[in-house]
């Protein structure tokens, strides 16, 4: 047998094994989360806040964490879109010809993407102390926004980069300003990818525990204003899993299952929307 044939077989086995290992570990993660979580995922669990303290109380559910997490991640995602989308468009339309500057911004965004979320948490905490804000929903939203902006910007940026130069030129030659080119042409052409990038950022926002550890605090109640602390699903898992009381630990598993289900819904929605908005996209 010649060497090229052996190489072919070697890499085929390598790829096959990698695929199987990854697929199996994912299935185990999903299965074990649902196995522990689903039995406790009763109506009471998702419709009631914990009674008698989240750490010791045996009654109640995790509604506070579900609502808190949704508040937090919707807030952060919306804020991140307000800053991230214009930035990504600016990079690709307005200053596209200044390659060095664009590359510096991309490099900085990549660096920020790589910074661990606990560092964002610590940063958010020092900011809070500086301004004299307590741990609250607002502080959490701001911290998580900072944490997901690089993810969102680079995600959208990658999509916008695939808009062909000819389309950019066509738009300009019709007399569009750069802003019109950005929002009416680039954005329209890239909607599916942009939606995916936004939902990916949302997924990161709702799943992260470290950045909100110091900044949002944790309570039994559903927050009624931005200045109140709030519970979140990742921290619901973190705090309740270490409890000596089995009912409290069950709440942690249920929280994990809920988190998983939310992420699943987000992924399905992102597929659905990117298909739907594909309609006007030109395939160059």
């Amino acid at each position: 047998m010649d060497l090229r044939k052996i190489e072919e077989i070697f890499f085929r086995i390598l790829m096959f094994c990698s695929t199987v290992i990854i697929a199996v570990s994912l299935i185990i993660i999903i299965f074990s989360t649902f196995y522990k979580g689903l039995p406790h995922l009763t109506w009471e669990m998702i419709s009631k806040t914990p009674k008698g303290g989240f750490y010791f109380g045996k009654e109640g559910g995790i509604l506070n964490a579900i609502v808190g997490s949704l508040y937090l991640s919707f807030g952060a995602t919306i804020l991140a879109i307000l800053f991230g989308l214009p930035l990504a468009l600016f990079l690709n339309v307005h200053i596209a010809h200044r390659r060095k500057l664009v590359n510096v911004v991309r490099f900085v965004m990549d660096l920020l993407w790589g910074v661990p979320s606990i560092v964002y948490g610590a940063f958010g905490f020092t900011i809070m102390v500086f301004f004299g804000i307590r741990a609250s929903l607002l502080a959490g939203i701001i911290t998580v926004t900072l944490f997901i902006i690089p993810i969102m910007v680079r995600g959208i940026d990658e999509v916008l980069q695939s808009v062909p130069r000819g389309l950019h030129e066509s738009s300009l030659s019709l007399g569009s300003t750069r802003a019109e080119t950005a929002y009416k042409v680039f954005l329209k052409q890239s909607v599916p990818g942009v939606v995916t990038a936004i939902l990916l950022s949302f997924g990161r926002a709702i799943g992260d525990a470290a950045s909100i550890l110091f900044t949002t605090g944790y309570t039994d109640h559903i927050p009624t204003s931005l200045s109140q602390p709030t519970a979140t699903l990742p921290l619901a898992i973190f705090f309740q899993l270490s409890s000596p009381i089995p009912q409290v630990r069950d709440r942690a598993y249920a929280a994990a299952a809920v988190l998983f289900i939310i992420i699943l819904i987000i992924s399905i929605l992102s597929r659905f929307f990117s298909k739907r908005y594909q309609k006007n996209k030109i395939n160059f």
Partner: protein, 252 residues
């Protein structure tokens, strides 16, 4: 020959350190078809794109000299660049329809100049689609995405879209290179009609096409203009050796 619409003086263009256009001096006559010809990589597309400053998009691009359009130097102007670009419709090598419906593609230019009344738009869209012989093919599917048209139809749509902003000049960069013979013929015939109203600048490396439609020819080689003049003189009595070789088909 008609009076010049565009007058280019001592134009030099660099991409980084690469000298792309070297001392270009030429004129482009009004309401005629000027063909810029030459082998690939000779700078003809760059010359055309510098006319509406699309070269601004290229990193590290520096330009010197003058491009006078109606007596105004567009390289050094206080006027809004979007106004200058509106004077020129662009037809690219392959069609780049905007990511929206057929109707909105044509209405786009009108909308961004503030003409938003539905009835006015309906009329103009029909007018321009008829002008490029596309109306009958698309009148029942105006709401469909432009991407569903065939390439030949898309190129005609792009022409209609360009005409809709009411330009004075049409810039065409090998507009038929991606098209089938019949669509190419439609575009060429349109150009012959349109030259009564518009100044047309077309880049091509198809010799026969240039012979069919050119009124004025600019021949470029390695970033320089080798020879230029009215089409008849140029094709029947070329002066330079390089031009003669090119016309004989000795190189492309």
């Amino acid at each position: 020959m008609n009076k010049p619409k565009i007058n280019i003086q001592d134009l030099n263009l660099y991409y980084g350190k690469q000298h792309i256009l070297k001392n270009i001096n030429t004129i482009i006559p009004e309401r005629q078809i000027t063909v810029i010809m030459g082998p690939s990589g000779c700078g003809k597309t760059t010359l055309m794109k510098s006319l509406n400053r699309l070269t601004d998009l290229t990193p590290d691009c520096s330009v010197s000299g003058k491009i006078m359009i109606d007596g105004q130097n567009i390289l050094n102007t206080t006027e809004d660049i979007t106004k200058i670009r509106k004077k020129m419709g662009l037809l690219a090598q392959r069609p780049y329809p905007l990511p929206m419906s057929i109707y909105n593609n044509v209405a786009y230019g009108l909308r961004i100049s503030g003409r938003k009344k539905r009835r006015f738009l309906d009329k103009r869209v029909e007018h321009y689609l008829r002008q490029v012989n596309l109306w009958n093919e698309v009148k029942d599917r105006l709401k469909e995405p432009a991407g569903t048209l065939s390439i030949g139809q898309q190129q005609r749509l792009c022409l209609a879209r360009g005409l809709a902003v009411d330009p004075e000049i049409i810039l065409a960069d090998e507009p038929t290179s991606a098209l089938d013979p019949i669509s190419s013929q439609t575009i060429e015939e349109k150009f012959k009609e349109l030259k009564n109203q518009f100044t047309i600048v077309m880049v091509t490396h198809i010799l026969r096409q240039a012979k069919r439609i050119a009124d004025y020819v600019i021949f470029m080689y390695l970033g320089e203009i080798i020879e230029q003049g009215p089409a008849k003189d140029f094709f029947e009595n070329p002066q330079e050796e390089i031009t003669k070789d090119y016309l004989k088909g000795l190189f492309y």
